[in-house]
């Protein structure tokens, strides 16, 4: 007797986490639109995404990593390494196009490096990626030392800074494509299903014939690759690189993913949730920035929002108890 029919499904959706997030998004957009005339302009809407594009792209793949029951703290360092490696290769005289390909390869290597220690050696990913967070950043420093490297070819900078199709820059299109791919793979394919099962219980998955190591390795490699891509997009967007590119982005990325309803213990969450969470964070930040609220207050407000968001089930529980319902099913 599963809930069938459009009305039932709709009701279930709205009662779900995603439904709640959607509500928040709508409220935020409405609030922003009323509060400031600058909000609902095409340029501002594009800026909104463009300014955090690297973080939200990596948030998509981080959704996989965390649902898989792992964590990748090294993503921001991979972004930094990718950007710096690109700058360095370019400075050494490598054609930018080739450098892009090499850098994506470096991203894959970084992911594989993490995967090796997590899968083959069996260390907790938190430890491994904490160490590579330091190590990959260090490698970026080795490449650029205290220099800033810029002067990339025009086509490269244009891709990062000018609209590509209509008013949309390439990064936004990349994000859209990646989001669609992420949604399809995680929510609709056998691979995605395995990611969930491993996150819930890797023993059960292994006893069901799932090649746990391979799936985990694939997810880490994807994480490295996407982080490297994000690093390149960053280099194109800002037109130059330095050793501190993307420093500290990992916490923002993880915040987005967790706010989207992905459980830090693995096995729970959706790409839709992450996408909605992205909209919330971006709109909130943008709205506050347009209202001239400074950086630390913005992060503080985001912190409060984060706590409130995980309290929603509790609040709903109170309401349910008040109206005589049963305990929430865990």
């Amino acid at each position: 007797m599963s809930e069938r029919g459009l009305a039932g499904r709709l009701r279930a959706q709205l009662a779900s986490w995603e439904g709640f997030l959607l509500l928040v998004v709508v409220l935020l957009v409405a609030l922003n639109a009323v509060a400031t005339p600058y909000f609902l302009t095409v340029q501002n809407q594009i800026n909104l995404f463009q300014l955090s594009i690297e973080k939200i792209i990596v948030a998509l793949v981080m959704t996989f990593v965390i649902i898989n029951g792992e964590i990748d703290l090294s993503v921001a360092s991979v972004m930094g390494l990718a950007a710096c490696a690109f700058g360095w290769l370019f400075q050494q005289g490598m054609p930018a196009g080739l450098a892009v390909a090499v850098v994506l390869g470096i991203g894959i290597l970084c992911g594989a490096f993490n995967a090796f220690f997590v899968v083959a050696v069996g260390l907790p990913s938190l430890v491994v990626t904490l160490a590579t967070l330091i190590a990959f950043r260090g490698m970026a420093r080795i490449l650029v030392e205290d220099r800033g490297i810029g002067g990339f070819p025009d086509w490269f900078n244009r891709l990062g800074q000018q609209p590509l199709v209509g008013p949309f820059p390439m990064a936004l299109l990349v994000f859209a494509v990646l989001a669609a791919v992420a949604f399809f793979v995680l929510q609709r394919t056998a691979f995605g299903r395995r990611v969930y099962f491993i996150g819930l219980s890797r023993e059960v998955a292994a006893f069901s014939g799932v090649d746990v190591g391979r799936v985990k390795a694939a997810v880490f490699v994807a994480s490295g690759l996407v982080a490297a891509l994000a690093g390149l997009l960053y280099a194109a967007r800002v037109g130059s690189v330095r050793g501190d590119v993307a420093l500290g982005f990992e916490l923002d990325i993880i915040t987005i993913v967790l706010l989207g309803g992905v459980s830090i213990f693995g096995g729970v969450g959706t790409v839709t949730g992450t996408l909605l969470s992205i909209l919330i964070v971006l709109n909130l930040r943008n709205g506050m920035a347009l209202a001239n609220i400074t950086g630390h207050i913005q992060t503080g407000v985001l912190g409060v929002l984060l706590i409130l968001s995980v309290m929603v089930p509790t609040i709903r529980g109170w309401a349910a108890r008040l109206f005589g319902g049963g305990e929430a099913v865990r």
């Binding site: 998955a205 069901s208 099913v329």
Partner: protein
């Protein structure tokens, strides 16, 4: 008779749309062993969780010594003298056996005297007739040993009411007898014992009164002496089960499906040779800890053997991972449902289709969800799985229904060789009959079936051939028709 120690009046409990308990009343007297029986999902475990403060009843009252009580959590229940062994093993893997036993005691001094604690733990374990080093970490224990630790924890408390939810499910006969001795001793000391089991022999051997539940309702309570097995079963299932466990003629075919020769793994088992024909049901019997599971794990590629050979349909094969095994058509239904069998947070349907996912995937690895749901619903019907739907998380089902989901998961793979480890542990008698019938039907289709079971009556009614293992080696073999409990037991314990 005396006042009831603990009494439940009109207790109801619902989980979302499921009404697990409906207006249940039950009283436990000091100095009685009270049995509680009922089909899977009848609400037995929920009832005891309501007693110990783990669930808050939606309606009704609980009284102790005639006074109304509301336990905030199971700690409060323990302080009032109500302790329970739950159906699911609940040990602390990182703590030692002794600590596991004493961790929740509130009457011990703050400062831990490790030496004394280990001694006391050893004493309690000895009362259970088990040898277990109290200093070992619980993570190193087998399921059965974990269960023992839990029993030890419960009897170490100063209890007035002791609740045991299927404590015998993973114990050997020998250990069960010791457990009975302890239960009787506690009864004689004035403790009220509530005992849940699906093994009716145990009910009759042990209990003074028996309560039957069905569909969350209280059906009857009467002195055990005034009931019969058939009568209880009829009340439990609401229908007649006579003749369900009679032996059936074997359906073994000529073709040898699985042959194992000289199989061994260092530190676990050695020199195991046997064969299973297509359509044959072979039971691997023995005491708990005889290393039967390890043989199965080797055949399934989890812990591959390091000696000997395995042949499948005459072909020598190498099995290094579950994937290899599954490709060869071998399925393994684990004995440890919670840890190894099901992902409790995933839906029933997703659990059922996990091993066979490639069958459901189309272009780009996309899962055909309609077909998946249809198949899952088919299994839910065939195996009579009680659930609000196949999209609910498997963790919301009762233990027995979870067991059926796990079976469905492996049947869905359409295996050639099916290895089932304790297939009916924690399954009610009706479901057990269904599972047996199912296995016979599978055998009829030519599947070779290896059953690992510690339930002797089950072995004797199901097996075409019985293999007995002891301490990692094959101790002997009987044809199914001529095997007797006594003969099997003698081999299992190594008596001559």
């Amino acid at each position: 008779m005396a006042e009831p120690v603990l009494e439940m009046r009109g207790v109801s409990k619902s989980f979302g749309a499921t009404d697990a308990l409906k207006d249940v009343s039950l009283s436990l007297m000091a100095g009685e062993i009270h049995a509680l029986v009922g089909e899977n999902g009848a609400g037995k475990s929920t009832l005891i969780k309501a007693m110990t403060g783990i669930h808050r009843p939606s309606a009704g009252t609980i009284l102790m010594d005639g006074r109304e009580v509301a336990f905030r959590d199971s700690g409060a229940a323990q302080q009032a003298g109500v302790a329970a062994i739950y159906q699911e093993p609940m040990v602390f893997p990182d703590l030692s056996v002794a600590e596991n036993i004493f961790i929740s005691h509130r009457d011990r001094p703050q400062l831990i005297d490790w030496g004394r604690m280990n001694e006391e733990a050893a004493e309690i374990i000895a009362r259970l007739g088990v040898r277990l080093d109290p200093r070992r970490a619980a993570s190193e224990l087998t399921l059965a040993e974990q269960q023992t630790v839990e029993i030890a924890r419960a009897i170490s408390l100063k209890v007035r009411v002791l609740i045991m939810d299927e404590p015998s499910a993973s114990l050997s006969d020998h250990e069960v007898r010791r457990l009975f001795g302890i239960a009787r001793a506690l009864r004689d000391a004035g403790v009220a014992v509530l005992y849940i089991s699906h093994r009716l022999e145990e009910i009759f051997a042990l209990s003074d009164r028996v309560t039957v539940m069905r569909d969350g309702r209280h059906i009857s309570t009467r002195p055990t002496a005034e009931t019969t097995q058939a009568g209880l079963i009829a009340e439990m299932v609401g229908r007649d089960m006579a003749g369900r466990f009679a032996r059936m003629p074997g359906q073994a075919r000529e073709e040898v499906m699985l042959r194992v020769a000289g199989l061994g793994r260092a530190g676990a088992f050695a020199d195991i040779s046997f064969e299973v024909r297509a359509g044959e049901i072979v039971c691997l019997s023995g005491l708990v800890g005889a290393r039967r599971t390890d043989v199965a794990l080797a055949l399934f590629g989890i812990a591959p053997a390091d000696a000997g050979r395995i042949e499948l349909a005459g072909q020598a094969v190498r099995i290094a991972s579950p994937k290899d095994a599954m490709r060869l058509g071998i399925a393994y239904v684990s004995e440890d449902r919670r840890r190894l069998g099901l992902a409790l947070g995933e839906s029933i349907a997703a659990n059922i289709t996990l091993p066979a996912l490639p069958r459901y995937t189309g272009a780009l690895g996309r899962i055909d969800r309609l077909r998946e749901l249809a198949d899952a619903e088919g299994f839910a019907r065939r195996l009579n799985i009680r659930a609000p739907g196949v999209t609910v998380p498997a963790g919301t089902l009762s233990g027995g229904n979870q067991q059926k989901v796990m079976l469905a998961k492996w049947l869905n793979m359409a295996p050639k060789v099916l290895i089932v480890d304790e297939p009916t542990r924690g399954i009610d008698i009706g479901a057990k009959a269904e599972v047996h019938a199912l296995m016979r039907a599978l055998a009829g289709q030519g599947v070779a079936i290896l059953v690992i079971s510690s339930d002797l009556p089950e072995v004797l009614s199901l097996a075409d051939r019985v293999l007995v293992m002891r301490e990692g080696r094959l101790a002997g073999e009987f044809p199914g028709e001529t095997a007797t409990d006594e003969a099997v037991m003698r081999l299992a314990v190594g008596a001559v």
